[in-house]
């Protein structure tokens, strides 16, 4: 296992189960389309929108809207702050399991 690059720090915002799952899904990718994220998590549009907005308001995720070939797309990605908070939160969870 790689040594985490972020200090273990429990994050209340990320700790909510769905927001943790959103961050976990976004962690191995640069960005994911909203539709794919919704399909992977198996949640409704409104529920995902609400949680993504909360993460976005905290500066943890970046939401990019654009149109391509007449279709609108929404891309979601973890920001640098969000990635650091997420890695720190995962490290904190590991610390708890190791206690």
């Amino acid at each position: 296992m790689i040594k985490p690059t972020s200090k273990a720090q429990f994050d209340e915002l990320i700790h909510a189960p769905l927001r943790l799952r959103i961050c976990a899904s976004l962690a191995p990718v640069e960005w994911a389309e909203f539709a794919q994220l919704k399909q992977n998590l198996g949640v409704a549009d409104s529920v995902l929108s609400k949680h993504v907005k909360q993460l976005g308001d905290a500066g943890y995720v970046d939401i990019e809207r654009f149109a391509k070939l007449g279709r609108s797309h929404v891309r979601v990605s973890l920001t640098r702050i969000g990635r650091r908070a997420y890695v720190g939160h995962v490290a904190a969870l590991r610390e708890i399991t190791a206690e």
């Binding site: 296992m1 790689i2 972020s6 962690a27 191995p28 990718v29 794919q36 997420y86 890695v87 708890i96």
Partner: protein, 157 residues
């Protein structure tokens, strides 16, 4: 910040870590190449590598089969999540991935010594190349996916 009382217990934390790993693996799988694409690449490569020794002209024409595979790859990438560039992944460079990669190179070189001329020998060689190639490529893919999950959950940069 949460108070110490709001922190999850050991069991809850373990469950959350398990869910984190599952979600990351799921995203890695769906953002990667479809399994059928990988199988097609290995199948076409097995046929081309075998026929290039036995029937070179046909083998050159068969390389055209890579064109629909490339088209498939391009179409499969549309709308998929963009994989993150691996920043620091020792498990990828020194672990199973590198090991299986070198076994792949070794396999290709060893199979060059098998001079298949008759039809049944050619078919047997294609089959052996395909089966061993699929085994090694699947193992490489698994190691790569694991490295991506670890990188995503441990690298903040």
């Amino acid at each position: 910040m949460v108070s110490p009382n709001d922190r999850p217990g050991q069991d809850d934390a373990a469950g959350l870590l398990q869910s984190v790993a599952q979600e990351s693996e799921q995203m890695v799988k769906t953002s990667g190449n479809p399994r059928g694409l990988l199988t097609s690449v290995v199948a076409v490569s097995a046929v081309v590598f075998t026929l290039i020794q036995a029937y070179p002209p046909q083998a050159y024409w068969l390389t055209l089969l890579y064109l629909p595979i490339i088209l498939w790859y391009v179409l499969a990438q549309r709308g998929r999540a963009k994989p993150r560039t691996l920043i620091n992944s020792p498990s990828l460079l020194t672990g199973a991935y590198a090991g299986y990669f070198f076994l792949c190179v070794l396999l290709i070189n060893c199979l060059r010594f098998w001079d298949a001329t008759r039809m049944e020998e050619v078919l047997a060689k294609i089959l052996v190349t395909f089966i061993s190639g699929m085994f090694l490529v699947t193992k490489m893919q698994t190691a790569y996916n694991k490295a991506r999950v670890e990188d995503g959950n441990d690298q903040a940069n």
